[in-house]
């Protein structure tokens, strides 16, 4: 039976079905609001990786939604935290989820971490034309538990798809720019994050998120809706329980 083989390549399968991930509509930069601000943070801790994100979605200078989920699961051991335009980012995450699943099911083996990271790069580079049209790009931070090495790893990307591995932390979004130095300060004065327990790292992350919120209007702090926090360990992905977050929120708010 003659049929096309995709070797587990999901974008080729979609191509054949006539679907493309990023349709670039004609338009000028002025017609659409620019990239959305936010703060997403990925930090290592002794058992794995913690991802924290505020939940504010903005459009131009207004707040669009205060319960946006910016940490999305790509598979059982991989999270993507997104900053930037929400629509292409969410669409890319959906694509990546399907792409990993499709590869695993059609090829009967999991895609390697390296393969997954390259796929993220590819998605980013595919979105470049729409970025140039002014639709807005996005910056992902990919956190994964590397099962081959049995350790957590954090990767961040630039808008064109270049990938960098981070030793201790990754942060993206308009608020992240303002607190990057503070991470360095913590690492230099208190020691590497990957040796700290989750409770300490979570505390630092929430505090820094609150500080980012005070410096960046597009980032929500601890005042309103609780931020989103997820961990990845060798056991997979888990949510940080709401009570834990609420308790820390109370403590940190009363301290400030």
């Amino acid at each position: 039976m003659e049929r096309q083989r995709f070797q587990g390549d999901f974008s080729r399968l979609l191509q054949q079905a006539g679907v493309s991930l990023f349709n670039v509509p004609a338009g000028s930069a002025e017609t659409l609001s620019a990239a959305h601000g936010t703060t997403v943070i990925a930090l290592k801790y002794d058992q794995g990786i913690l991802n924290v994100a505020d939940r504010r979605a903005t459009a131009a200078t207004g707040i669009l939604y205060d319960e946006a989920e910016k940490i999305l699961m790509l598979d059982e051991y991989t999270l993507i935290a997104i900053a930037g335009s929400y629509a292409p980012a969410a669409e890319a995450a959906r694509f990546l989820r399907h792409s990993f699943k499709y590869y695993a099911r059609s090829q009967l083996q999991d895609m390697s971490l390296e393969g997954k990271l390259a796929e993220v790069s590819r998605v980013l580079s595919q979105s470049v034309p729409s970025v140039l049209q002014g639709i807005g790009g996005f910056l992902p931070i990919v956190s994964a538990h590397d099962r081959a090495k049995n350790q957590g790893r954090i990767f961040f990307y630039d808008v064109l798809g270049a990938r960098f591995e981070s030793r201790e932390y990754g942060a993206a979004g308009s608020g992240a720019e303002k607190i990057r130095g503070a991470f360095e300060y913590i690492v230099r004065t208190r020691g590497p994050l990957h040796e700290m327990p989750l409770s300490d790292v979570l505390r630092e992350a929430l505090l820094l998120l609150d500080i980012a919120a005070s410096l960046d209007p597009a980032t929500a702090g601890l005042g309103g809706v609780l931020p989103l926090a997820k961990t990845i360990t060798s056991q997979g992905i888990a949510d940080v329980p709401e009570e834990t977050l609420r308790k820390l929120q109370r403590e940190l708010r009363s301290e400030s």
Partner: protein
Amino acid sequence: MAYTPYDWQQTLRQKADYVEDRLRAGSPVVGLSCETGALLLTTRRAQRKIFEIYDRLAFSGLGNPSDLETVRQLAVDFAHAEGYQRSPDDVSIQRVVGLAISPVLKRSFADPFRTPLVLKGLFVQVGDRPEDDLFFTLNYDGEFMLHHHHAVAAGTEFAEQRMKHTLSERTPKRKSKDASSLPLEAALQRAIDAWAIGSWALQAGILEPSQRGKAESGVEALPSQRETQEIWSKELEEGAVEAALLERDAKRERRLRLMSDEELARFLP
């Protein structure tokens, strides 16, 4: 030489004979709903036989491995393209089998100049409750059929009939509501029994008419204990049991869980 309708019919018959001859040697496949999910069970030599198609879909079958692979790829391709374009909830067993696969099989079977695909497939979709589980059996000519609670695929009709009989007769005649709320252990045991009976019925194929006569007259056509044990010891010499549970309440994204040999060992005679 002219190709007449008579030739066409003749070709189909020959093709069917050709396929059925080959299918007779295949290991039967059992599908059965239980409390915690939908169970698929068969035996294999080296090649895997039970596959995940999509979040709630799994597939197994018997026949030519390369043909099974073709069908599996078709199903995976269709399911993922659909799941992405629409949503994962829109990928249903009915669409996968009826839209993506059956027409291809039918075309290939009806085309006199192509070799038919040699396979019988069994698809399952796990639902939120056992009574929502759906099974589809797929024949080499593209014909497919929906089943609830359980389904089988085997090389002869007689074997399938015996297996179905085994799977359903032991379900006490209760309301359909709890008919399939079987614990996993019981389901495994039942599936293993049904497989052995299917395998036995395939070997007893030469006795088909008389056995069928006995079955119809109410006399059970079943292998003896010794025969069952022989079937298993012979099968396990060269191969292994493969069973997988498509879990109902999986927190994990992957619902299909292949069972380990240790898990299965205690159910084998």
